[in-house]
Point group: C2
Chain length 232, copies 2
C-alpha cells in the first residue's frame, strides 16, 4: 500500500527526472538502523522504494513521538534541504529492511536554479505544505480530544476519497495517538464511545461513518469539515 502524498519530485519534467536519477544513488538500511538524526546536516532527500521509514522526535521522557511514517513512494526530508542551517529537524529510522534512492541537495538546487518555472512550482508546493501544517496546528489547539479525532477523520477522508463513507487509518493506533497528542488508552476509549453510539464502525484499519453530520454533532463540530477540500 504505497503512500501517495504529492512530493516535489512530481513537479519535475521527464528530462529533469532523468538528470536527477543519473546523479542519485541507492541506500539499503537494515531493521533498526537510523537514516539520520535531528540536527544532522541535511545532505540529501530520500525516496522509499521498499520498506518503511519512521520520522520522529524524542520527547523529554525519551519516548518517540512519531510525526509521519513513509511507505513505498514516500519522499523524506524534502523540506529540510531548504532550511538554514541545512539540518534535519527530526530523526528517521527504519523498523525493517528498507531500500532508498538518495538525491543530493546540490543536484536539486541545480535544477531549481536553472528552471525558474520549476522554482515557482516548488514555492507553491511549499506554500501548500505550510497551509497543511497550519491546519494541523488548528487541529491540535481544538479544545478536546474527540474533536481532534473527528477532525483527523475529516482530514484523511478528504485525502483518501474511498468508496462510500469509508476511511482507512494509515498508521497504528499508537502512532495515531501521539499525532493527536493523547495516550493510546484515551484513543481506544474515544473510539469505543463512538462505536457504542453507532456513529462509526470499525473493522481492522477501516472506519465507516454512517453519517458525518451526526458524528460532527456528537463532538460539536460543523459538518463542513468533511466537505471536499476547501483547503488541503
Amino acid at each position: 500500500m504505497p503512500s501517495n502524498t504529492p512530493n516535489i519530485l512530481q513537479l519535475l519534467n521527464q528530462a529533469q527526472k532523468s538528470t536527477l536519477d543519473a546523479q542519485s544513488y541507492q541506500l539499503t538500511l537494515d531493521a533498526g538502523e537510523c537514516l539520520f538524526e535531528k540536527g544532522d546536516s541535511a545532505e540529501a532527500i530520500y525516496m522509499v522504494n521498499t520498506g518503511k521509514v519512521t520520522l520522529y522526535r524524542l520527547m523529554p521522557n525519551g519516548e518517540e513521538k512519531v510525526f509521519k511514517v513513509f511507505l513505498s513512494g514516500g519522499l523524506i526530508a524534502e523540506m529540510a534541504i531548504f532550511m538554514t542551517p541545512r539540518c534535519y529537524p527530526m530523526s528517521a529510522h527504519v523498523d525493517q529492511k528498507t531500500r532508498l534512492t538518495c538525491y543530493s541537495h546540490e543536484s536539486i538546487n541545480e535544477l531549481l536554479i536553472s528552471d525558474s518555472d520549476l522554482a515557482m512550482n516548488v514555492l507553491g508546493f511549499m506554500g501548500n505544505r505550510i497551509g497543511q501544517l497550519m491546519n494541523s496546528l488548528d487541529m491540535l489547539t481544538q479544545v478536546n480530544a474527540s474533536q481532534r479525532l473527528v477532525m483527523y477523520f475529516a482530514d484523511i477522508y478528504r485525502k483518501q476519497q474511498q468508496q462510500g463513507n469509508k476511511l482507512i487509518l494509515p498508521n497504528t493506533k499508537k502512532v495515531l495517538a501521539t499525532q493527536l497528542g493523547i495516550t493510546p488508552e484515551t484513543l481506544s476509549r474515544l473510539l469505543n464511545k463512538l462505536k457504542f453510539s453507532g456513529l462509526i464502525n470499525e473493522s481492522g484499519s477501516s472506519i465507516t461513518v454512517p453519517s458525518f453530520s451526526l458524528l460532527c454533532d456528537e463532538v460539536n463540530l460543523v459538518p463542513s469539515i468533511f466537505k471536499p477540500t476547501i483547503n488541503s
Copy 2:
C-alpha cells in the same frame, strides 16, 4: 514596539524594493474592520505601517483563535500568495485604525521569476518557516500545559535575546492561552505556581527566569531548549 520577525521583503535588494514600492498601494482600515477572511482569494500581502492586525481562525463555538498579532513592521500573508488555490488560510481584522502597504502577488511573482537567486532565498525562507511550524506542532503535542508554557518561554527567549534572563510576552495572556491550547484561567494558575516557587518573576509583560535549569527541572524538560538557536 515593532514586531521584527524576518520576512520575505527583507530578501530583496534595493532595486527590487524600489520596483515593488512603485507598484504598491496604501490601505487604511478603521477599528473593527476586516482585512480579509479565510477562503478569500489571496491577491496581496500587507505590511503594517501603524496599528495592529490580528490573524485568527474561528473555532466551532464561534470564538476567535488568535494565531498571530502583527504590529508595525509585520508582514501579513506572505505565504498565502504561494498556495493553490491561492486563498488566505485564516482571517484578519484590526482592533484599531491601521495603515497598511499592499503588494500584489503579481508584482512579487515577477520579481521571483526574473531573479532565480531571490527565488532560492525565498525557498530557504519558506523552509525555515516550515521548521518553525513543526516546532510549534512539537510543542503542542507535549503532554502537559506547563511544558508547553516553558517551551514557549524558550522559544521567545531565543528569538528576543534580551538583557539577562529576561523575556517579553509579546501578546496578551488571553492570546497566549489560545496559542498554548489552554484557557486563560489555566494559564493564570500555571504562572502563579511558577511565581510562587520562585522559578519566574513577572512584572507587566516582562518575565525573568533566575535559573533556566531549575525551571526545566520543575516541568521535566531538558534545559537545552533555552540554548541559542539550534534550529529556529
